[in-house]
Amino acid sequence: MTPWLTILGIVPLVGAVAVGATPRRSPLLAKQIALVTSLVVLLLTLAMCVDFEPKGDRFQFVQKHDWISSFGVQYAVGADGIALVLIALVAVLVPVVILASWYDADPEAESSAGTDGPPVPERKRSVKTFFALLLVLETMMIGVFAATDVFLFYVFFEAMLIPMYFLIGSYGGPKRSYAAVKFLLYSLFGGLLMLAAVIGLYVASARQGLGTFEFDKLTQMEFSHSTQVLLFLGFFIAFAIKAPLFPFHTWLPDAGAEAPIGGAVLLVGVLDKVGTFGFLRYCLPLFPWAARELAPLVITLCVIGILYGALLAMGQKDLKRLVSYTSVAHFGFIGLGCFAFTTQAQTGAVLYMVNHGLSTGALFLVVGFLVVRGRSRLVGDYSGIGQVAPVLSGVFLVAGLSSLALPGLSTFVSEFLVLVGTYQRYQVAAILATVGIIFAALYILLMYQRTMQGTLSAAHEKMRDLRLREVLAVGPLLALMIVFGFYPKPLTDIITPAVTHTMEDLGVQDPAPSQLNTATTEKR
């Protein structure tokens, strides 16, 4: 058996070292190495997906080696369907981000390459560091999804913060250091609570005679109810901050707005998914009793998040903050799907994670392209851009429509599954969440209308349309959105068995169709 996951983890790291070793004078070489590395990872990931047997074992490509035997820690990796699609998402997004951020770290290079306007005096920033950080981040993102040892997961979960911290802090917008520190501290605080829970988990398992961090063995154990609640909360708060669920979301708009556009795509597209992934992988199977008891609370938070995020998104003047708030709403949907405890809803949630990565990624990229051209993040500074940049405007529209879940685009499928699945158990929540969809149409279409339509201002008359590089970056995302919008089966085939396992660990069955109407009052 090919150790795919380890290879996938190592390749970006090697690439990062190679990028770091390039001479400072040739930033182009660093970029090329980074791009090639990420494409190699993408190819390897595709090969791995082909090798994956949807009907086979729950975890595939499993590797286990002792790492720190004193702590009972193993280097254990393996991928189930959920992890697989998320790793694939990482592999798709990283080359896209590299291509899209080609000139982000050295704007001089772009202006000397003869684009818009006079060069802006910018701080000198290390180009190779930027791309090396992206590749290091890729390793950690793959690792966090691939880990099947709770300790190993934690290591990646925390270590991942550092490259993102530097990406935001060194390459971000005007308030970058504030945003970077806020991001780091929120995440670290959650992470440290989780550390206490991770240790508690080990100690609790040791009291049952077998101190272990192995996911497989931990799911077999039954912990006392009070232990479950404490440990669940330790994990849940960390993941809720990461995801971010209301009321732990306040760091995201800052971080999302100040991060360089590539960093923002990976932050919202992938890093935040670790939170929702953590719900499904750790919170539910390890602490089923606590998860079942606390689900109504979580569902409430999710619904608040959907509505509140959407309302705040409508009120934003800053494009990047706006997109960040839309994500708060979307993560409400994902959380809803995770905690509604139906196969449909959970499948929808996982699908949503992938689709949200694609659609919000694309939306962030377009906004980034626009901001680079107009040198402003404010909605009010743009008007009628569609007249000078039709391609940009078109891509903007498609990405926006995908974000508001238009049928025919992939997000629709996932949102629909989540809502139908939720309705079977929590009708009120599902109905309220549906209102969020209407809000989504409002904030997206208003943003589009204000920036792309209307009269063109004189300042933007010379704005260039998307360049080939930018089209190449955002194009694959649009293509995937449309393909999965019409034919999500390849994804659902992979996801559904994994979700079934999660539901089994959770000890919950789908409500029978005849019970549909009484499902909310049903006590288990």
Partner: protein
């Protein structure tokens, strides 16, 4: 009165590491007296490093020793040897830092004549001369010898002697800074006065414990705690006073007040020696007292130590946030770390003991490297320790700033650094030992500490350098070795800590 006092049997083999270090220190004194001034420094460095390396060899030879000797006054067992081994290696690194003279003109961190009036013309002249007080090397060796004896003392009186042996040279060395003499002298006086006060508490505690157990042997006190009907008041009072002396040395709250001033005023290599080695040695003594002498009495002393640990973590972390000087910030961070290590002590288990030992080793190396980096960042008036001066350092010298950032992340306990593994070890032992609440306080305090470590990283990397900012001196091989070794240990133990954990596990058994 019987006159047949028997000379206790002395096993020279297990004692050899300490004997070698003390011998090297004594020879160092002779070198001061006899060797020509121009060559003293070179001889002293070779002698000190050679002595410490010889002691390291002796420790490795004695690695299996588990014995009481010198009339049960000295215990050479796993924890002793582990701590001595770490101390000796860190001692070499701090000697290298002391020997560095490429940074500050040609003089090094230590002044030529400490008795000169600060601010006088003579003082100014000495600050720029290339002479130095080379007594600092034998002083450091005596101090290190005392530190090695401290955790080995199985007899409280001997422990007091070791405490004074390690402290007196430190009091002197604190006053030897080449620049900012007044601050340095203030540090020395403060350290001396408070230290003397703490020592007085210690010896009073020993006296009360003697009244309780009729002996100052750790083993005898342990036996006495098993007797019913003995006078527990004496035990509690004695233990409390003994603890004051020990907690002062490890810098636990409320006995931490000296740390920031002394860390800031002392010559930075001496600060490194204090922060890394003294803490390790003092924790060794804490472990010996609480695990051996009153190990049976843990239900009585644990509540007190709980309170101390919580206070130490919280106060250290919060006060560190307000600091504007790198050395003071590191001082308060060391206070917070004392609290984390105390969690391992409070666990009272084999895992707690090995976790504490592991933490001490990792912390020592990271601290040593961090202070070594502090010596590099300079402006015209010496080290630039004000945090504002570190602004934009990451753009001027990415390598130095990058290494420092890594060390700070290790202090903060980010995974893939030794600091994380160490925290994990003590937190796991603490949770298993029923101190789950302490662990939760510990993780919250860790989050607070992360705030000020992150703030330094922000300053260094995310801000533009000031026009007249400090320069980063190019270190000679001496300082570079220290930084490289400290960094290497921090990385290696963060990725593959198992061998070191095994070592700590094997060492984690006291003899009585």
């Amino acid at each position: 009165m019987p006159t047949d006092i028997q000379a206790p049997e002395i096993l020279y083999g297990p004692l050899s590491p300490m004997l070698i270090v003390f011998a090297a220190a004594c020879i160092g004194v002779l070198v001061e007296a006899l060797a020509p001034a121009a060559r003293r420094r070179g001889i002293q460095v070779v002698l000190a490093v050679g002595g410490l390396l010889a002691a390291l060899v002796a420790i490795i030879v004695q690695r299996g020793a588990r014995t009481l000797t010198a009339g049960d006054a000295i215990a050479v067992d796993g924890p002793t040897l582990f701590i001595q081994g770490v101390l000796v290696v860190l001692g070499v690194l701090s000697i290298l830092l002391l020997a560095e003279r490429g940074l500050d003109g040609s003089g090094g961190a230590v002044v030529a004549r400490a008795s000169t009036t600060p601010g006088s013309r003579e003082d100014m002249r000495l600050a720029d001369s290339d002479a130095m007080q080379s007594e600092v090397f034998p002083l450091a060796m005596f101090s290190l010898g005392g530190m090695m004896l401290f955790p080995a003392s199985n007899n409280l009186l001997l422990m007091f002697v070791a405490l004074e042996t390690l402290s007196f040279p430190l009091y002197l060395m604190a006053g030897l800074a080449r620049r900012r003499r007044l601050l340095s002298q203030e540090a020395a006086v403060k350290y001396f006065l408070l230290g003397a006060f703490a020592s007085a508490f210690f010896i009073y505690g020993v006296a009360l414990l003697y009244g309780y157990a009729g002996s100052v042997d750790a083993g005898k006190i342990f036996d006495a705690t098993g007797d019913v009907g003995s006078n527990d008041v004496l035990l509690y009072l004695g233990l409390a006073m003994l603890a004051v002396g020990l907690l002062f040395k490890i810098g636990a709250v409320p006995f931490q007040a000296w740390t920031p001033d002394v860390y800031q005023g002392s010559p930075t290599p001496v600060t490194a020696l204090m922060a890394a080695c003294t803490k390790i040695a003092a924790f060794g003594a804490v472990l010996r007292v609480f695990y051996v002498a009153v190990g049976r009495d843990q239900w009585d002393w644990r509540p007190m130590m709980w309170a101390i640990a919580i206070l130490t973590m919280v106060v250290g972390a919060i006060l560190a946030v307000t600091q504007t000087d790198v050395k003071r910030m590191l001082a308060y961070s060391s206070v917070a770390h004392t609290g984390f290590i105390l969690i391992g002590v409070i666990a009272v288990s084999k895992a707690g003991l090995s976790g504490t030992l592991f933490y001490l080793a990792t912390y020592g190396f990271t601290t040593m490297a961090a202070f070594a980096i502090v010596t590099l960042v300079r402006d015209s008036s010496g080290e630039a320790t004000h945090l504002a001066q570190w602004t934009g350092l990451g753009r001027r010298s990415p390598l130095v700033a990058g290494v420092f950032a890594f060390l700070l992340f290790a202090f903060a306990g980010i995974p893939l650094t030794s600091g994380f593994m160490a925290k994990f070890a003590v937190f796991q032992a603490g949770t298993a030992g029923g101190a789950g609440v302490l662990v939760v306080v510990g993780v919250v305090a860790s989050a607070v500490t992360a705030f000020f470590y992150a703030r330094v990283v922000v300053l260094m990397f995310f801000n533009e350098p000031a026009a007249d900012g400090p320069t980063v001196a190019i270190p000679s091989a001496l300082t570079a070795t220290t930084i490289a070794l400290g960094l290497a240990v921090t990385i290696v133990l963060g990725v593959y800590p198992q061998p070191m954990l095994d070592l700590a596990d094997q060492a984690a058994l006291f003899i009585r």
